[in-house]
């Protein structure tokens, strides 16, 4: 049987969804807003459940219902609002990639109960992704990114055929369960939900095709629809590497004549085990302390953000209390007091309108994020990538004990890559670090740029980023990916000036400390530390000098 064409796949998935929405639990639809997606969402009207739309910021009152405060105040008796999850429904979650973990957990709970299905409209690009609590539970997956308008057509599902399929009773042949389980295991899918969802899907397909028993074809199609996208990619999702950049040999007067041939000798990717490196025990602590002492902008542990749940109180402001927002009762009463005469106050109680409500605000300090920008170029790999990994592990251990988030950016070849988006999981960071290959040129500027972007994103999410740059400093690939040593250095310095608002730390992993890296550190307004060969004592003193304590 041939694999499905993309649009056939979409049509079949929607048929399955319309036959047993609560059985396959829903659809993960990865597509930008556009006519192709509209054609899919239009077909959702064929579902036997009422459609309810949600957005990622939906609060608990909207989900579960509760007291309608404005309505209650206006009418003088209690008005209850019904919640979205009060009745069985097909939930349509827009901008699903932005759904916070809390919402994902609530929706996952709802999906575990019978009678709900979720259509997650995922418009994510790059590192944004649907929370895994949902991807694990949603049966079907469609990716419309590659489809143009001409590849699509209106999806017309015959209501009579759907009704017949819903009513049909389909038997499962004895071997089918084992077969799906084996396929799932062969694909490396650990979750047991996946084969179960595939089984439900196979039954729906058999019913759709008017069969009384699940056939081989149904199982195969079900595996395509439900299992294919869950297949575990190997941890190291290596794209086929481009040919190594030509040896950066722009300046014949360079003293490091051995470097180009070193790049020639080593294989394209080499994996190195982390080895113990010598770093002072409390590097991060000192960095933080040094920051605070050195500049006025570093305020203690994390930056101050305005929240509405905890921290130091701020003045209240008008607003509607809801989930996460707490009413400030005293201020609310004070706001209502002057109007009592005008509002014709009755014998008892106050006349309070929705406009009087004030909510509390607090200032709190945000979480910290440590971004490791690791140079995995050929020169570094030859020299000391193993020791660099050791150094990162030491810093990681410190970050772990401080409950910091960490992110890992590596740069080599012609560009930089975000190996690990911000996380608190030490297990993952260690795994990615161990699997970090070395080889290629040194795109220092690209590494700085990516680290800068990650820092900016983190700041937007309310974290306080710090960048730790570990490199041997011989940047030889410019920002546009061309091997040009002079341009590379200019690019790196230009970026360093941009980055200087973010606290940073530059660790020189070269065999000989690089003057250019010291200049870069100066531009970054960051402490500069040459990583000595197993000389913790000296590094400690250098560090103390660098941080001025």
């Amino acid at each position: 049987m041939d694999p499905l064409l993309p649009w056939e796949r979409a049509e079949l998935a929607l048929a399955v969804l319309a036959i047993c929405p609560a059985g396959v639990k829903g659809l993960w639809l990865r597509a930008r807003a556009g006519p192709a997606r509209d054609r899919v969402t239009a077909a959702l009207s064929g579902l036997p459940l009422p459609l309810r739309r949600l957005h990622p910021g939906v609060d608990d009152t909207a989900l579960y219902g509760g007291v309608d405060l404005a309505g209650t105040l206006a009418s003088g008796h209690m008005v209850r609002a019904t919640g979205i999850l009060d009745r069985q429904a097909a939930l349509v979650l827009t901008m699903a990639e932005r759904a916070p973990a809390g919402l994902a957990a609530r929706l996952a709970r709802a999906l575990d109960d019978p009678g709900f299905c979720l259509i997650a409209l995922d418009e994510g690009t790059g590192d944004e992704a649907l929370p895994s609590a949902l991807t694990d539970r949603l049966g079907l997956f469609l990716d419309l990114e590659a489809l143009g308008w001409s590849d699509t057509a209106d999806i017309a599902l015959d209501p009579a055929r759907l009704a017949a399929a819903r009513a049909a009773v389909v038997a499962t042949p004895p071997g089918a369960v084992a077969q799906l389980t084996r396929v799932a295991m062969a694909l490396g899918i650990a979750s047991l939900r996946a084969p179960l969802l595939a089984l439900t899907c196979a039954r729906a397909l058999a019913a759709w095709n008017g069969r009384a028993v699940v056939a081989e074809d149904d199982l195969q199609r079900a595996a395509e629809l439900v299992l294919a996208h869950r297949g575990d990619l190997p941890e190291q999702a290596e794209e086929p590497d481009q040919e190594p950049p030509p040896p950066p040999d722009q300046d014949p007067g360079e003293t490091e004549a051995e470097q180009p041939e070193a790049i020639d000798r080593i294989p394209d990717d080499i994996l190195l085990e982390a080895v113990r490196a010598a770093l002072p025990a409390d590097l991060l602590a000192k960095l933080r302390a040094g920051r605070a002492a050195r500049s006025a902008r570093g305020a203690g542990s994390g930056a101050v953000t305005k929240g509405n749940r905890r921290g130091r109180p701020l003045p209240s402001r008008p607003g509607k209390p809801g989930s996460g927002l707490r009413i400030d009762l005293v201020t609310t009463l004070r706001a209502a007091a002057p109007w009592q005469g005008v509002r014709g106050r009755k014998a008892q109680g106050l006349a309070i309108r929705a406009s009087d409500l004030r909510i509390k605000r607090f200032a709190e300090t945000s979480d910290r994020l440590l971004i490791f920008a690791v140079d995995a170029s050929g020169s570094s790999a030859m020299a000391r990538l193993a020791e660099t990994k050791g150094a990162v592990e030491l810093l990681l251990a410190q970050a772990y004990s401080r409950r910091d988030h960490v992110a890992l950016v590596s740069f080599r070849g012609t560009g930089a890559e975000l190996m690990l988006p911000p996380t608190r999981s030490l297990v993952q960071t260690k795994r990615r670090l161990a699997g970090l290959p070395g080889g290629g040129g040194t795109p220092l500027a690209a590494g700085l740029k990516l680290a800068f972007e990650v820092a900016a994103q983190a700041r937007a999410r309310g974290m306080t980023p710090t960048v730790a740059l570990l490199t041997d400093g011989r940047g030889n690939i410019a920002l546009d990916g061309t091997p040009d040593r002079a341009q590379a250095e200019a690019d790196a310095q230009r970026l360093a000036r941009l980055l200087c608002a973010t606290p940073a730390l530059v660790i020189d992993t070269g065999n000989r400390p690089q003057p250019s890296l010291r200049v870069l550190a100066g531009l970054l307004d960051a402490p500069y530390l040459p990583l000595p060969r197993a000389d913790a004592q000296r590094l400690s003193s250098v560090l103390a000098a660098a941080l001025g304590d």
């Binding site: 957990a105 996952a108 499962t172 047991l192 004990s401 999981s425 260690k430």
Partner: protein, 334 residues
Amino acid sequence: MRQPFPFTAIVGQAAMKQAMVLTAIDPGIGGVLVFGDRGTGKSTAVRALAALLPEIEVVEGCPVNSARPQDVPDWAGAMTGAMVRRPTPVVDLPLGVTEDRVVGALDIERALTRGEKAFEPGLLARANRGYLYIDEVNLLEDHIVDLLLDVAQSGENVVEREGLSIRHPARFVLVGSGNPEEGELRPQLLDRFGLSVEVTSPRDIETRVEVMTRRDGYETDFDGFMAVWRVQDTALREAILTARAALKELKTPGVVLHDCAALCIALGSDGLRGELTLLRAARAQAAFEGAGAVTRAHLKSVAAAALSHRLRRDPLDEAGSGARVARTVAEVLP
């Protein structure tokens, strides 16, 4: 609502099931932490446990599930004093929950419409004498975690806010689950869980097929499936009740106490909570097996669950502390 998937029908995951049964026998053990991959039956087990647990007697209408009329807190208002039987409460604490919802707060609706100062009890009140289940406990915000720690330790919820001064008992068994790949749990909270187990997906086809077959049977032939497993669930419930009664009569020989201490010293676990939990868990296990006294075998069977999360963690050690406990048990208790 439809009855959840039966506890006894869960395939494999013996460590998780054992830990949950032990807390049902002796709630004093202090909670279970279940860490593992997605889709390994963590949430299923907790929801199944709720249906498995024996009913409790509560004062009708009491917001904190009091066992005796004189225990009803005075802020709860007048009760009829009648006793009713209720299923053991299992309360879900969702991620992103607000502090107000957890501890309770001023009842805004009554305050604004009727001008009364009344307390609206939170999730901690509802969980009293039962279970508090936190899915994805490792993603819970730190300030909520701190609050839970405080209450879990004192067994009492104290609310001092918005002009209210209220306290009520909040004794519950914490059950947490999560996926360590998505973030780790603070050591302080880790230590408060009595038992911790790690679950993994079964690796062999037969077990996985059995899981699928049973689940599919539950989904498609609910009545037939429940008819088979309800009997088993009832038998387990009886066994738990028998063990609860036997716990009081159970003897603990001095040599077992000695073993406990020796094991904890060899593992270098912090504090004395390790020994105490180990002993309680071993006693519950002995009672469950119907033994007259605790033996070394009982100790061994609960050692990993009771101690593995209390070791000084080497953050870069990948093997996991379960292996370390097993090794030490083999050395210290031959």
